[in-house]
Symmetry: C2
Subunit: 329 residues, 2 copies
Amino acid sequence: MRIVVDAMGGDYAPQNIIAGVVDAVKEFDVTVTLVGIEPQVRKHLSGYDYPKDRIEIVHAPEVVDMHDSPTDVIRKKRECSITVGINLLKQPGYDAFISAGNTGACVAASTFFLRMIEGVDRPGIGLVIPQVNGFALLIDVGANTEPKPEHLYRYGQMGRVYVQSVMGRNDPSVGLVNIGEEEGKGSGFEKQAYQLLQEKLPRFVGNIEPNELFTSKADCIVSTGFVGNVIIKVSEGLMESATTVLKREIKKSPLAMVGALLMMGALRKVKKQADYSEYGGAPLLGVNGIVMISHGRSTPKAIKNAIRAAMREVEHKILEKMRSAIVGA
Amino acid sequence: MRIVVDAMGGDYAPQNIIAGVVDAVKEFDVTVTLVGIEPQVRKHLSGYDYPKDRIEIVHAPEVVDMHDSPTDVIRKKRECSITVGINLLKQPGYDAFISAGNTGACVAASTFFLRMIEGVDRPGIGLVIPQVNGFALLIDVGANTEPKPEHLYRYGQMGRVYVQSVMGRNDPSVGLVNIGEEEGKGSGFEKQAYQLLQEKLPRFVGNIEPNELFTSKADCIVSTGFVGNVIIKVSEGLMESATTVLKREIKKSPLAMVGALLMMGALRKVKKQADYSEYGGAPLLGVNGIVMISHGRSTPKAIKNAIRAAMREVEHKILEKMRSAIVGA
């Protein structure tokens, strides 16, 4: 199996990306194609000991930054690591693409160059969110800010395939993010989406209120990209500010400082549990290819985890399964 | 000053409500009118020692529960504590109304019986959200799930008056919740709202991403009621699940248990900081009367704080100021 990785994308690229890739090829049965500015990639790689035949480099002279608009990347940056990497997927032998770079550019380039799965109009980004006792997949977290109800129905179908294949849960349930539990709650969009999901989607379990996201029993939870993005950003901001306040309080008392040392492990666990970036990539669902979008702040471990998640998608032939789920419904 | 309090609203009514009211009349220069089922209210009050002339009871034989639809409350429960209490505000000598009951019913009854401030089409619920270094006012957190851009403009105007008068900040700034920082981000609604706020609202500081809600320098932050409601519910759910995970981790290690004891004060501070219900009421802005909506799980302290916040609104003649801000703009 061969996974294409954008060496230039992310806040700590290429160093974190390359460190994660090296760990991955040592640990997993995978070959990685690093796409980026070759001399830079080569230089960073030279510091590592790894099986040389398991990492190859494809040169891409241009780099996308976080301020490049998605359409500009498609039109003007045809030689950047994102477009070069995604286009590799059209050749045989390249199985998946991973980038921690500009999310909008990844979504646009994937949609433009790979096209959509038949029956799917708009891609959605899925994100594995940690729960008190497990995980759930939230779709969409930002690809499609103003979806139609039908888009959420497709997310539900694809999410069920993903959760069943990659996360190993049988006949997964699907919920809808809404601000009330009962049918008929929310805005016009949520009411329509509820009706459609209720009518057409197997195992639809109704509305999930945002305070239940981290405990809910739904395996897959669908929302507009706007609301999904708000959810992950609020969570991020709240954990960060809680950490700031906690550190400030601890500094006020020597006893609390000792206490913090003694319970450092437990505190780290909570932080880690709430940190989405730990879980590697977020699958871009709906395009004709396996694309995984990683957090801009990805650690080497997150990159390694994204590679493993992409490998699982390939092993489980997720694209074929999604195609038949959509055609068969 | 006389504040009307719904004795029957909230998960722990009437006991928490009455305990908070008793504390308030002892601590502040205020008279409270408790509205509810008189024998029940009287029974709970009899356990307290307080200045008798500072709490009066108005009988309301009906009770609204969380499942009553707002329109049913207006049409069919004219004798419930919410409608009776709100209608008292139309009589001279009653200055504000507070309820920890059914939010939708409070919004609907306030809008129906008190009517709107001239120029305002839809009410919005403001909520004081804790930040790392202070507070900000978020409007709307659930009254108006599908607003027009003009509604957000009115929220900005009213929010500025509230923050200046009640929270004591000079010439408050206003931000818009959006999933990107730059102008032109978000859905069609956010783009339109940005333009309007930019053009007409003094001190508009642009988009606020949800991860910056707890650190942002904007004094007042406007959003749709749907998104505002998602924000507060995600925060609530995340803090609860983080607490669950932390407790579970602590139990695994005796050292961590000792650590937790030593830093209990710091941990409590973090939880309290993130707990909106601590801050008393959420002002319902836009109606012709001072109405404060408290969290269903309000503690006696939260009720006392809501009474103090309502008193400040009365003292600062917030309705007059809002009327002239809107007419003058």
